[in-house]
């Protein structure tokens, strides 16, 4: 009974909350608009926007010496999670079956496991650092902790269900993912989508001024 609930109504509900919530938040950000810049543009805003969206993926010089561990952990976690989410065979099958109707090529199984390991490594290092370092410990609020816990739970339950043979483990993983989806639009996890807006905005403003940001 709980199984049918998790697979059925709760899935639909969580997916709807996620989609509607994300779209709503992005729309409100865009609708907020920006002050018109009356100065003569010295360069292209759109080119600057596109440039900055990609250029900010490269780290800033001082991070390589002063924040090296966190820098590496950050990359490991994000790249690993992205690979896991969209290129692991079980996830592609799930999305193809329930959302898009069609799938795409998955990465080989060993790459799936490797991404999981790297993502876990990054997440654990980042999370423990957040709890230990006095600065981040003071800065972190409920939103931060809840987001960390939920993402960790989803990854852990996914790891436990890796044998793909036990229905209860799959359902626990799906349930934690649904809770994450419901929480997503109301939290800072929205940076998954808003990073494009913020990077683009900075790049556009700077691009208009003729500066490479």
């Amino acid at each position: 009974m709980i199984a049918q609930f998790i697979d059925g109504p709760l899935w639909t509900f969580s997916l709807s909350v996620f989609l509607i919530g994300v779209i709503w938040r992005i729309v409100t950000i865009l609708m907020a608009g920006n002050r018109k810049d009356l100065a003569t543009p010295r360069g292209s805003a759109s080119a600057g926007a596109v440039r900055t969206v990609f250029s900010r993926s490269i780290y800033e010089r001082s991070a390589a010496t002063r924040g090296r561990l966190l820098l590496i952990a950050g990359y490991l976690f994000h790249i690993g999670l992205f690979a896991l989410l969209f290129f692991a065979q079980p996830h592609i099958d799930f999305i193809a079956e329930r959302i898009t109707g069609l799938g795409w090529t998955a990465m080989p199984h060993w790459a799936f496991i490797l991404s999981a390991e790297l993502a876990f490594l990054g997440l654990l290092l980042l999370w423990i650092h957040r709890l230990l370092s006095p600065v981040t410990r003071l800065l972190s609020d409920l939103d931060d902790h809840l987001g960390s816990i939920l993402v960790f739970l989803v990854m852990l339950t996914g790891c436990l269900a890796l044998a793909q043979s036990f229905e209860s483990l799959r359902l626990i993983h799906l349930l934690s993912a649904e809770l994450l989806l419901i929480y997503f639009p109301f939290s800072k996890l929205m940076h998954t989508f808003t990073f494009i807006l913020s990077r683009g905005y900075t790049g556009a403003t700077m691009g208009r001024k003729g500066v490479n940001a």
């Binding site: 390991e117 423990i128 003071l138 269900a161 890796l162 044998a163």
Partner: protein, 363 residues
């Protein structure tokens, strides 16, 4: 004679009968000869030896390799009898599980008794008003990273090892198989992260764990755990150093054997897998035992022990009592910091820049 179809012995002429008797006698001759061959002389016919008797005797006594070839492809498919399998089974079921189980149980009971008798090791001079910086942020990070990975691996590993005798009676087979599958998958996936943690810990702490003068006498005096006599020590005392080297050496055995076990794809035979399992299990039980002691001291066993790992600073008097040589050195260098100053670093009311950052962030 008649040229007819009648072939019975009876009703024929004498000549036919004689010929037939002759043939019968001719046939009977070899029977007599066989009855006289040296193999069957004195032996009933069922005792004639199997021509491959020696082959199978040698196979059974393992005097010849118990393997041949097979059309079925596989690493061990030509092996007829895996003799080590039974040795391994006996080791796991009759030695590892009972002895390992009682050993760990004994350590837990022993630690409990020790606490009840000795009590918490207090700071004799009482907590001082100054602290020494002990561990940096990075060192604490990799320690707790290692600790969380180790705890996860230890619990999942113990579930796989002791689950059948201890947990199946509680949960039943269906639920336990879910727990066991989750433990196996989790254990196999997190294993390589232990390797990463081990390397990080080794690189960071190896310099302070090299044997120094005074370590042996510390060990011989038992570190002063019994009684209140003061025993000098460096940054790490001999107990901690021994634990570090045990962690690194036994941990390496566990890592290497674990890698052999989770990658059965490199053509290793069952013998290698069994050997890896034995090393992995013995190493793990030993390590869990030692870490139980480590956790005991760090938590309830000793006052002031965990502070260094929690916020990076340790009490000055604690350092003077347990790591005398290091503490006096640090004090001489002026590294001792007053308690208020330590808290100030993380108190926004006194730390101006921190307070400003927090306000700007809207906290």
């Amino acid at each position: 004679m008649n040229g007819g179809s009648n072939h019975s012995l009876v009703g024929h002429g004498v000549k036919t009968t004689v010929i037939r008797l002759l043939l019968l006698w001719l046939f009977a001759l070899p029977l007599e000869t066989v009855a006289d061959t040296k193999e069957s002389r004195g032996l009933p016919s069922t005792m004639v030896l199997n021509p491959a008797a020696e082959l199978w005797r040698d196979v059974r006594q393992r005097d010849m390799p118990t393997s041949g070839t097979s059309q079925v492809r596989g690493v061990d498919s030509g092996v007829l009898i895996n003799a080590n399998g039974d040795k391994w089974r006996k080791f796991r079921m009759q030695q590892l599980i009972p002895i390992g189980g009682y050993l760990l149980l004994g350590i837990i009971v022993g630690l409990t008794l020790f606490y009840l008798v000795r009590g918490k090791v207090k700071i004799v001079a009482g907590a001082s008003d100054r602290k020494l910086p002990r561990y940096t942020s990075y060192e604490r990070l990799i320690h707790w990273f290692m600790a969380s990975i180790f705890l996860f691996l230890a619990i999942t590993g113990l579930i796989i090892l002791f689950g059948r005798p201890l947990l199946i009676p509680i949960f039943g087979k269906e639920i336990f198989s879910v727990i066991a599958s989750a433990s196996k998958e989790g254990h196999n996936l997190m294993g390589p992260l232990f390797m990463v943690a081990l390397i990080l810990v080794f690189v960071k702490f190896v310099r302070r764990n090299i044997y120094q003068k005074g370590d042996m006498s510390w060990l011989l005096r038992g570190g002063g755990i019994i009684g209140k006599k003061h025993v000098p020590s460096n940054f790490f005392n001999m107990g901690e150093k021994s634990m570090f080297w045990m962690l690194v050496l036994v941990g390496s055995v566990i890592v290497v054997s674990g890698l052999v076990l989770i990658f059965p794809v490199f053509g290793q035979s069952r013998e290698w897998m069994e050997l890896a399992h034995v090393g992995h299990a013995i190493g793990a039980i030993l390590m869990i035992g030692v870490i139980l002691g480590h956790i005991y001291i760090g938590s309830v066993g000793m006052e002031g022990a965990i502070d260094g790992m929690k916020n990076g600073y340790c009490d000055l008097n604690w350092a003077k009592e347990h790591h005398d040589l290091w503490a006096t050195q640090m004090e001489k260098r002026g590294e001792a910091i007053a308690n208020e100053d330590v808290n100030r670093f993380s108190d926004p009311d006194t730390n101006e820049s921190l307070g400003r950052e927090l306000r700007e962030a809207g906290k």
